[in-house]
């Protein structure tokens, strides 16, 4: 199964940059807040692309992919038990 590969951890780049900058230059808080929202929206774009990819895989493979969130939730519940 190729769907879930190990992540390359790159850290919280945007968030760290924004919080550091907010602390040092308080007059820039407004545009920096916008940048945080922009980052979140770009992430949503990528999520939608991944969703489309899953639907396309369903069409091509004739088999429904397990939603990634479900896999994570199941994993968490088994760990807590």
């Amino acid at each position: 199964m190729k769907y879930f590969k190990t992540k390359v951890f790159r850290g919280a780049l945007v968030f760290n940059y924004v919080t550091q900058k907010m602390k040092s230059e308080t007059n820039l808080v407004d545009p920096l807040a916008y940048i945080l929202i922009l980052a979140r929206q770009i992430e949503h774009l990528a999520d939608h692309a991944a969703n489309i990819a899953e639907h396309a895989l369903f069409l091509m493979e004739a088999k429904a992919a397990l939603p990634r969130q479900v896999a994570t939730v199941k994993l968490n519940s088994t760990q807590s038990n």
Partner: protein, 180 residues
């Protein structure tokens, strides 16, 4: 009757192709608006978004008609279901593009912050994913669709606020094998 059904499927695919190329263009424009200081981009994107909304409604009606009147089965049924789902996702992408352009317009005076923060790279990666996934869907390219799903994790990582769930994906393949 079979002739009519085939015609409907072709029309559906043609409309979806048109809509996906429109959305691809929109996302590209939104990414461009991050780097370019032009106020016209927002107006253009806003106008094009109405077109995407119209396509969304058209495709929804077409898919509903296919279900109700033609009773598709097997591969055709999967195609209609997928079209309905992808149509929904594409429309959301269009809306997000408008929103990105709108927000970028508001912080036009602080372009240097946008460039420093690294969201331009994220946006370029997201746009690449969208164009790849559209190509994968239209050309039935399995490999490309898989690549996009793997890449999504990278964009999420770039934006993640907490470093938890680092190793969670090691175990997911085992979970999948257990279920299927």
């Amino acid at each position: 009757m079979p002739h009519q059904f085939g015609f409907g499927m072709e029309e559906l695919k043609a409309n979806l192709t048109l809509m996906s190329s429109l959305v691809n263009h929109q996302v590209q424009q939104a990414v461009n608006s991050l780097t370019r200081a032009s106020s016209n981009i927002y107006k253009e994107i806003k106008l094009k978004d109405d077109e995407i909304d119209a396509f969304d409604e058209l495709l929804q009606v077409q898919c509903e008609n296919m279900f109700a009147l033609q009773q598709p089965i097997a591969n055709d049924l999967r195609f209609v279901i997928t079209s309905l789902m992808i149509n929904n996702q594409l429309e959301r992408c269009g809306n997000i593009s408008v929103s990105i352009a709108n927000r970028t317009k508001k912080i036009n005076a602080h372009k240097n912050l946008i460039l420093e923060s690294g969201i331009v790279d994220m946006a370029k990666e997201a746009h690449k994913m969208i164009s790849q996934v559209i190509e994968a869907f239209l050309n039935s390219n399995l490999e490309l669709a898989n690549n996009v799903i793997v890449k999504d994790d990278k964009v999420d990582e770039q934006n993640s606020l907490v470093g938890a769930s680092k190793n969670i994906n090691f175990l997911c393949p085992a979970l999948r094998d257990e279920i299927f």
